[in-house]
């Protein structure tokens, strides 16, 4: 935020001279006809989504008996997927709110798409708690509404209810933040559409832009409300996944009950979210030719956050394992030995390798600037973080306190299909977003275009060698 920028700093936008060029580059996908690959992949993801919805319908028709869950392992794919998708959302909030407070200019290019990702991921997540009730139509019972069901009332002492509040707050704030941030850009598109003579489009974007006219007073209010919203969103980065972790940690089940869960889940959520940001951004910048805005430096910064959060997750795994031993509690010790060497050992080691070992590859600049390798590693992270939740949920449950209650869990095609269906839904929404809305925040990126000129007396005094 200083009006002096050191000459050794990189530029966050490359090969771009004018504001007009930025607008043209970002608006191009919106103004041109849908491309064939776009149509193809949107159709494919739409079909996958429909497949998922059909299996959801089947589950509702037959009951959750079509899943592989049993008395001992009562939570499995459903809650694993729920936590997985909520976690994915966290990168968007971190980028839009926390990185704003930390004055990180590189967030300007990726915040829009990451926030969109957050919203779609939270929508996918919200499906699962509803589904695992088996009776979707009773989802209303989640809400603390006055009712005629006698004494039936939500349990305010239950972390599951806190979760309802946490997730719905999260969705609301993210949606408002995302949409509000888009209004000036929607107005830009409206004006361009009007100029190009596309009346219907201009009308639609005009309605979406809430009649934005870009006066100084509007901008001033806009800046203030953005700031307030980012202040409100910052605690959400911590609180949402902390409360998700309490779904487990408030219990007395070894492997679930441990005090490090809240920050550990938050670190994991940010980690998985950034893994997904990598996956999506590598594709987006390539397809829409946005390499001048989402530069190699952006990708490197994301990779560095992945190292940091991946290592934090690794520290949490180690701490948990160590303290399980240190506690001297035979239950705790058994839960962790069983995790690593019991019947689900492969899921533990898949988790550990993907989440702790692979991100360390980003220490090498050659790897983090190689987009093919980064893409592959980001997929490993997505897989690893899904396995983390599977490990926590299934391996902790399948060995009950009584050996006679021990059981194994195997997913059925219905559960797997629903999970794949949510990927279809996620991608379907993301494709629609990337075609019809501006994937890059134009007005914020424009603030980075002109590096302030370096005062000459500084160069004289410092005698710095400029190597940038």
């Amino acid at each position: 935020m200083s009006h002096v920028v050191s000459p050794i700093r990189q530029k966050w936008i490359t090969n771009t001279e004018t504001y007009g060029q930025i607008t043209a580059d970002v608006c191009r996908p919106i103004e041109s006809k849908p491309s064939l690959p776009w149509l193809f992949w949107t159709a494919v993801s739409g079909l996958v989504m429909l497949m998922g919805f059909s299996l959801i319908a089947w589950t509702m028709w037959k009951g959750i008996g079509v899943w592989g869950v049993n008395w001992t392992v009562g939570w499995a794919f459903d809650i694993t997927n729920f936590v997985f998708w909520v976690g994915i959302g966290h990168a968007g909030t971190l980028i839009s709110a926390v990185l704003l407070l930390f004055r990180q200019p590189w967030r300007n290019s990726i915040n829009r798409a990451s926030e969109a990702m957050t919203i779609f991921a939270v929508l996918c997540a919200a499906l699962f708690p509803l589904l695992h009730m088996g009776r979707l139509w009773l989802g209303l019972w989640f809400l603390p509404l006055p009712n005629t069901r006698g004494s039936l009332w939500v349990n305010f002492n239950s972390p599951l209810l806190w979760d309802v509040f946490a997730i719905s707050t999260y969705l609301t704030v993210s949606l408002v933040f995302w949409y509000l941030g888009m209004i000036p850009d929607l107005a830009t598109i409206r004006d361009r559409m009007a100029r190009a003579g596309k009346k219907i489009s201009a009308k639609i974007y005009g309605v979406l832009a809430f009649g934005w006219e870009g006066s100084t007073r509007t901008w001033s209010r806009f800046e203030i409300i953005s700031l307030i919203l980012s202040g409100l969103a910052t605690p959400l980065v911590l609180s949402v996944h902390s409360i998700v972790s309490m779904d487990f940690a408030t219990s007395v089940i070894p492997g679930w009950h441990t005090t490090i869960f809240p920050p550990y889940f938050v670190a994991g959520a940010i980690f998985s979210g950034f893994g997904m940001v990598q996956t999506l951004m590598i594709v987006t910048r390539k397809i829409y030719k946005l390499e001048n805005y989402i530069t190699m430096d952006h990708m490197e910064s994301i990779a560095k956050i992945v190292i940091a959060t991946g290592s934090l997750v690794g520290l949490a795994y180690t701490t948990e394992f160590f303290v399980a031993w240190y506690s001297g509690s035979i239950w705790e010790r058994y839960a962790f030995i069983n995790r690593a060497f019991g019947p689900y050992w492969w899921s533990y080691w898949a988790m550990f390798t993907c989440n702790v070992v692979t991100p360390q590859l980003f220490w090498f600049r050659k790897i983090r600037t190689n987009m093919v390798l980064t893409f592959i590693i980001s997929l490993f992270i997505n897989v690893g973080m899904w396995f983390e939740r599977f490990v926590i949920i299934v391996t902790s449950l399948h060995r009950d306190f009584l050996p006679s209650s021990w059981a194994m869990y195997t997913p059925t095609y219905v559960e797997a299909g629903i999970f794949i269906g949510t990927f279809g839904m996620f991608m379907f929404f993301f494709f629609l977003f990337s075609k019809y809305l501006p994937v890059i925040n134009m007005f914020e990126v424009k603030t980075l275009l002109h590096h302030p000129k370096k005062p000459s007396h500084i160069e004289e005094r410092e005698g710095l060698k400029i190597n940038a």
């Binding site: 009006h3 902390s242 005090t259 869960f261 920050p263 520290l315 949490a316 240190y326 410092e462």
Partner: protein, 453 residues
């Protein structure tokens, strides 16, 4: 904000010289502290600790710590609680306070280390103009401050239950002896100190060499060292907290313990940096530091105190909610007001939230509160006490046991440490320029503004 005028080479090349008054204050604190400490020792512990011994220890212990199954928590606590009670001697109290103060000031040094390294790997520029202050804290304090721990190596058995109970007595401690034994404990600690002090000295050397030679090579080298340090710090600081603080009550365990200790350390480190800067500016130094720098330090103080409260809640809420006896015992000792023997801690328990969370949360919420000394100072005073309060609550129930008190020993020990800290840190400050004159981000920092936030 005075960021429109430019600072001359002379202004940036200034060096701190310790004023006589500050030196006197430091030595005065050391002297007074030692006198109070000795007085406390000769008077046999003072003030509230002189309350009559708690009655009926036996019953209360069993009512509190009964566990349903073979977990041997209750039995041993009783046995040793009894013994601890008889010998809750002055010596034990002195050692507990030595531990408290050593940890207190170490955490400032380590917080400053983290401040420096994490800004370096984050490629931050704003802190450049003030970085000599955290640098002086690390190299001034850490090499000397660790001596306090080294002294305690010889008295581990006096305050650490596991070091004093022979094998075969306590089944639960016996299962942990592979980790909780004196040679390994001392070895780990020495290794951590070597890493921390080594990194601090190395970074300082690079920073000073850059002053002389300029260029970017030293700056670039510091990035790798900082990254390595942050990784090692995360692991070692967590285990350090397990070793020196958590193992005071060796039956108890909590995975978040290290994170919470880290949160508290960052609060006190930021407060310390802030206050030292204010002092230096008042003495006429570092006129290039502006309100924006204070604002950012204030934001960290505010943010980390919320983070501390978050970790506090994670630990307390989860243990309270699950209500597992071997975990709950930790809080039973600290907040059960029905228990006469531990009654003294309830004040600290509830006060902890007040001083370490509510005061900074409400006191530093507004923009101006962080930028103006008049509003920051009262909060800083509370937080400087608050970190001590937090550590007191961590350390005393497991060492001094029942009937904690704040008396001559506590005050004297802290005053002596504070005096030594002031002397060493300001001496280190005087050994280099107050501004890193050749740092590539110095100019950014001199013109730092926080913008609308």
């Amino acid at each position: 904000m005075g960021h429109t005028h430019h600072f001359t080479k002379e202004q940036l090349n200034e060096r701190f010289e310790m004023p006589g008054r500050l030196r006197n204050l430091a030595f005065g604190l050391i002297g007074t502290g030692l006198v109070l400490l000795l007085a406390g020792i000769f008077l046999g512990g003072s003030s509230s600790a002189e309350k009559p011994a708690a009655p009926a220890t036996e019953e209360h212990h069993s009512s509190v710590t009964h566990t349903p199954d073979a977990q041997p928590v209750s039995d041993t606590d009783e046995a040793h609680g009894e013994e601890a009670h008889e010998t809750a001697s002055v010596g034990k109290r002195v050692l507990a306070n030595l531990l408290l103060c050593s940890v207190y000031f170490l955490s400032i040094g380590m917080g400053a280390m983290f401040f420096l390294t994490v800004h370096r790997i984050g490629n931050a520029g704003w802190h450049t103009a003030i970085m000599r202050v955290p640098e002086a804290i690390t190299v001034g304090w850490l090499p000397v401050g660790v001596v306090g721990f080294a002294a305690m190596f010889f008295f581990l058995g006096n305050i650490y239950e596991w070091a004093h109970i022979p094998p075969g007595v306590d089944a639960l401690i016996d299962t942990k002896r592979a980790y909780l034994n004196e040679p390994f404990f001392i070895g780990r600690t020495l290794l951590f100190f070597a890493i921390w002090i080594g990194a601090a000295l190395l970074l300082r050397r690079l920073s000073l060499r850059q002053d002389e030679e300029g260029g970017l090579s030293h700056f670039k080298r510091s990035e790798g060292i900082s990254a390595a340090f942050v990784i090692l710090f995360a692991i070692s600081y967590s285990f350090f907290a397990f070793d020196w603080l958590k193992s005071l009550e060796p039956h108890w365990f909590s995975t978040i313990f290290g994170v919470q200790f880290f949160g508290g350390s960052m609060v006190i480190a930021n407060v310390t940096i802030y206050m030292i800067l204010r002092y230096l500016q008042k003495q006429g130094y570092m006129q290039y530091v502006n309100e924006a720098h204070y604002h950012d330090l204030g934001k960290y103080t505010f943010g980390f105190s919320i983070f501390w409260a978050y970790t506090w809640l994670a630990q307390f809420l989860l243990i309270w909610y699950s209500n597992i006896p071997e975990e709950g015992i930790y809080y039973v000792k600290r907040y059960r007001t029905e228990d006469h023997e531990y009654l003294g801690y309830a004040f600290f328990f509830f006060g902890n939230i007040l001083v370490n969370f509510l005061v900074p949360f409400l006191g530093l919420m507004t923009r101006d509160a962080k930028r103006k000394l008049a509003t920051f100072l009262p909060v800083a005073v509370v937080l400087i006490y608050g970190h001590w309060h937090d550590l007191f609550l961590m350390i005393m129930p497991g060492t001094v046991g029942q009937n904690p008190g704040i008396g001559l020993i506590e005050i004297g020990m802290f005053a002596a440490f504070a005096g030594l800290f002031i002397f060493l840190v300001f001496r280190a400050l005087g050994r280099a320029n107050l501004a890193p004159v050749q740092h590539p981000y110095l100019e950014e920092s001199l013109h730092h503004t926080t913008g609308p936030v």
